[in-house]
Amino acid sequence: MQPPSWWAALAFATMAATSVHAKERAARDLPALPQYVRECGSCHVPYPPRLLPAASWRALMGRLAAHFGSDASLDEATAQAIGAWLEANAASGKRAATPPPENRITRSSRFLHKHGEIAPSAWRRPSIHSPSNCAACHPAAEKGAFNEHDVRVPR
């Protein structure tokens, strides 16, 4: 006897959900490319590649000499290696569909949604300085971990 079709649908949905979770976990646990940490992490938290779609990383890596107001230019080989790693590990699925304005993580819908309760004035506190300073509130940001339970917003 054939199992009812809803059973098949449920089994499929469970498998799909498991695979999405596994993918998210794998993305969270991704070890950062040492070159990326060294070159990009001097000026900002080495933002996890999953926070932007591949198209955004490509655009950013394509004009490092004018990188949000700073010259962040690299030699060709290093830029290639970092760019390939960022694109290979970029956001996937729904989040990859639309690059955020100016390819800024801080203007992505996920970032805005997650930080909705933060008052605009809080971002300007000297202890925080800028929304791009993840480590001000996320103590493990340097390691790519952004667990909500660890968040401490400084005064």
Partner: protein, 131 residues
């Protein structure tokens, strides 16, 4: 101090080619001075470092007025380790890295690359900063 540098230039320092990876701050200073063909000036270096040059930032904007302590990136707020070699042993010990940062940061501060003389001036001043 100038006498020392001139003596250094007259001796073999000019033979230290900019290109080797491992370096010391003193060797880099000698090489920049040799390339500039003049002794560096700590006064000029300090002035270059602390003043703006027609743009928004000076070197101090991120590294602090006296770069013996931790600086802060002007945009992101990320802490930047002290720049003065006396306060941070790793500084000015890798020539490729030094050149990369001079290229980027001079472009941000002056809108162009720095000359060898300017690099020598800044480095000479940084070497006078005590921890």
């Amino acid at each position: 101090m100038i006498v020392k540098y001139v003596a250094c230039l007259a001796l073999a320092c000019s033979a230290i080619a900019l290109g080797a990876a491992a370096a010391t701050p003193a060797a880099l200073l000698s090489a920049y001075s040799a390339k500039a063909g003049a002794a560096p000036s700590t006064e000029r270096g300090q002035a270059l470092f602390r003043t703006t040059h027609g743009r928004e930032w000076s070197c101090s904007s991120c590294h602090g007025e006296v770069p013996r302590s931790v600086g802060r990136h002007a945009v992101t707020g990320k802490p930047i380790g002290p720049l003065a070699p006396a306060a941070n042993a790793g500084r000015f010990t890798d020539e490729a890295r030094v050149e990369k940062w001079f290229r980027r940061n001079c472009n941000d501060v002056l809108g162009r690359e720095c000359s060898a003389a300017e690099k020598a001036d800044v480095l000479a001043w940084l070497l006078t900063v005590t921890p």
